[in-house]
């Protein structure tokens, strides 16, 4: 089956920043993304878990964005501007996609 090269960017970011991030992505010309829930985690700012939490202060989401390789830099710049002051992680993986016309 015909596949096409693409980049898979996964941004784990605080839930309160989700809309800001996705707005920035859209502005940077990203045509699609998927938001995954996160149960908990650990990092330099300590360990946390979503259980029992009412406040949105604690809690992260993972925004997955598959794009054409040539758009990667624009996306990373946009994402970085939002993530910069915040806790969170950005990773980029090479991948292949079906239906490249969608990206």
């Amino acid at each position: 089956m015909q596949t096409h090269e693409a980049k898979r960017v996964e941004i784990t970011i605080e839930a309160v920043m989700e809309t800001r991030l996705t707005n920035a992505l859209v502005k940077a010309g990203v045509t699609g993304f998927t938001v995954l829930p996160v149960l908990g985690g650990s990092g330099r700012s300590g360990q946390w878990s979503r259980e029992g939490q009412v406040s949105r202060a604690r809690g992260m989401v993972c925004v997955v964005c598959i794009i054409r390789p040539e758009r990667l830099d624009a996306l990373l710049d946009a994402a970085f501007a939002v993530v910069e002051r915040h806790i969170g992680v950005v990773s980029v993986t090479d991948c292949e996609v079906l239906r490249a016309e969608r990206f």
Binding site: E14, V16, G46, E51, G52, V54, S55, R58, H86, I87
Partner: protein
Amino acid sequence: MDGILALAASNLLSPIILFFALGLLAAFARSDLSIPEAIAKGMSIYLLFAIGFKGGASVADHGIDATLILSLVAGLILSFAIPMIAFGLLRVMTRLDVTDAAAVAAHYGSISIVTFVAATSVIGSAGLSSEGYMVAVAAVMEAPAILSALWLIARYGKSAGMEEGLMREILLNGSIVLLVGSFLIGWITGAEGMAMVAPFIVAPFQGVLCLFLLDMGLVAGRGLREARSVLTPGVFLFGVIMPPIGAVLGLGAGLLLGLSTGGVVLFMTLCASASYIAVPAAMRVALPEANPSVYLTLSLGVTFPFNLTVGIPLYLAVASLVTGA
């Protein structure tokens, strides 16, 4: 006075406080007991709906008091002002930097709706009632303190600036919208509306509150275990002396406004309590450099249990003494 001591004692043995303690203990003992996030959020939606609606229905019932507007204004002013005092105290008593101190200060200018509910139930047990619109005062006090914190940062620290859209986000925060909306709907639909929803929001209320406090105990306990290190003696001390200071301001305002004794207690409680839902989320957006462990631990792990156990009975005692009730 004796009655009040008895009330304080019985308060300590109320199911609500015992379930909070159960949650704390379970967390300290590392039990895996936990409430799913969706259920915890569902309970908080239920509580806001019930509190708002009951407040509105009570206003519909008793009519608008001349002091309604004045109380709202007083609430606004206190919510703006208290963070200034808290910030000053924090800078003196603790080693928190400007950002952390401002973030903590914002929490104390805002309010904790569950503390408010607990106080309502304590004054009810004492046979007192209160102005229904105190719920609206609570809503009005949710957000202004956030602005004070940003102003403090701009004044004493690196300018934080007000991010675009943040103001709308704070004012249209889910809890505020639900509380105010339910209040208005309770007001509009009055006794008739109340008759429809009462079996849902009145009778089962205390039971839901017990489970909610169990969850708060679990979250507070886990937070305390994780973040023990941030609780230096100075920080801890702040968490227990700031509430009475706020309460004194609330007392003054309540007396000036001529509120009922119950109303005065609620005003004191609002000023004495610290936010742990709306403000922490706003701080993550506006002041991401501030350490969330500090403010969450102080607000939920120190000040909330302090108010629940010692604070509210104390405020009731003082208000009763002063108003001669």
